[in-house]
Symmetry: D3
Subunit: 143 residues, 6 copies
């Protein structure tokens, strides 16, 4: 029988989301909001994107979220909010998320990273979290 | 004085590369090979890309390599070979690297991932490494 | 003389648009709205984009609209609304338009398709049309 | 059990390919060639890309190939050879394929289209096909 | 010591901006607005983007702004407003800026250029400037 | 009659190319090499790309070449060789061309610029030209 993949996807989604009013279950909702134009979209998202791919062994959840965020920033696609929330849910710290964005600068340029930073900033505010480490801000480049 | 950033960059490069004839010190060579057209390129690469960004706290080296690979695959830029080698050098397993590429499929599509997979495959062969886990290959989706 | 290309373009535009208050003659308006910054833009759009390219034999109008929509979705450019309207005008069904978007998922990834789906959804609502076929929604992948 | 999706995908692949030595069964081979790095890739390609998406009702095969080609050209991904062959296999004429590429010029610019044209040209030569219609070549833009 | 690069960057920023209430000192503000998520961002922007790159000999300021605008339009990134203002500040005329955008059409397609044109149009209005030359608007292509 | 645009395009092409065996008349050849697949391509290139756009007032030739190169690098399209030759033909110095590429780093990232630098390097070698200015190469960032 094959509730196998669908169940795998649903289980993965539960791992990734913390159900409370501050955490949108964005991933699931995405499929549902398009029922009228593509009724099979929810199934494709849950079964393929989550059951086959997100639930796949190899990377841990934190590494998977970093991979997702990096790909979206590189594409200039600013819808990373949902994935920043997911990242916090699976244990990435705000420092790690901000670190991922800064790390992308030499590969995709400043504009795409700055677009993403704005989104991350808003999510951190909504979620009531903040970075802890303080990379030297005012220090000049030498001694 | 400011050999500070330059040294920071060089130290980071040493962390990332294992000098032997199979491991190209690709990152450093990149700057050097363009001396005749942009003499300052090596400095920009070593000081900014490595001294300021790659050496920045926040993410560990393995997370940084995954971030880099993801961004390049998303851009359709197949020059990930050097970064796959770096990934192996800093402790990513072939399974983690392959897992990163498969994870990108729902975000960037199959064609870009397949281009990258070919490169990773060649690097694994050159480096004499292979994946260990075996996600079910022939199993159908149920039963 | 050469009203030839301009006329060809205008004739094509008439084919593509159904003038009523629900159908924006978006294509023409695009040029006109930039008269103050590039007075020749309307001419370039009408003569080249429509007279030379859109009026060219080879593909029929429905195939041309699908080509256009696919290119824009792949680029992450969400301004497909005007082209969804054009598609309906030339005889594409909502099922064909939705089918085009779902077909793009394996090639460009889910995020870009979902951005486009939102736009198509809004246009269908404005135009009072809906898909008819119902790909199995709740069915799991086997049995 | 679920050989359902896998079978659907295989059936679709048979529709799309004409097995003879000139027609690469490229789509299937793609998965197989990466067995050593991602054993599940063939299954993902056959079941999702072909079983779920390519076999989906909505667009006919010719429209699907045009959609695919357009997306790849827009991405600057020149691996359209396999899809040009598929297009010919399902009944697109060389004129329709060339028409699709020219139609993309106003949306993605000349460079990406020219890269694709070179590939299409090579496939037409290998397949021994040619366009039939002759859009006016030497005619200037006015009478 | 190295206030060298930081000072170089600040000096360049002064060259590029005309401080009055209509000219956002956008470049500097960008770093500052992300202090809470990446305290080192301002330093990276001022020292690398402006001190190392923007202050580099080779191109003059007007050529540099055209290069920047072209890259952003090609990426589909519409945040060119700040750079259009900078362009006017360093002596590019509205005609040159509009000319740059039209010149991009054959390379990136109409949609990306039109998105950028809207932004440039708004900036020209805010800044109270306008193009002077009038490329023939209504003239057909011959005669 | 309208040999007007065609002639305008041909005149522009003559301005941009220096006919000798080292300077490919690449722009014209591009259209001609696709006669068998799109007989109208030469006309579209000469009349639209060169007659309407490249011949348009607003930017001078040097600014136009920089705009073109920037757009192609940003797109990750490495076919800039022809445009580097054109740039040298219209009076851009190797320093200006190299300066354009370095200037792009903060906007598109290092990988795309390095791909382009390799091409420019090859063209400079073929054309027997070299940069003259020497941005400080070995100097560290301070003192």
């Amino acid at each position: 029988m094959s509730t196998d993949r669908y169940q795998k996807g649903m289980d993965k989604l539960k791992e990734l989301t913390i159900p409370d009013e501050n955490s949108p279950t964005g991933h699931m909702e995405v499929g549902e909001s398009f029922k009228d134009i593509a009724p099979d979209l929810t199934r494709l998202v849950v079964e393929f994107a989550f059951g086959d791919v997100y639930a796949r062994p190899g990377l841990d959840n934190k590494q998977k979220v970093l991979t997702t965020i990096s790909a979206l920033v590189a594409q200039g696609t600013p819808q990373i909010g949902m994935h920043v929330v997911t990242g916090l849910n699976v244990g990435l710290t705000p420092d790690e998320i901000a670190g991922c964005l800064v790390h992308l600068i030499p590969y995709v340029g400043f504009p795409r990273v700055l677009t993403a930073m704005k989104v991350a900033q808003e999510v951190f505010a909504e979620q009531g979290v903040a970075i802890t480490a303080k990379p030297e801000s005012g220090e000049s480049s030498a001694g």
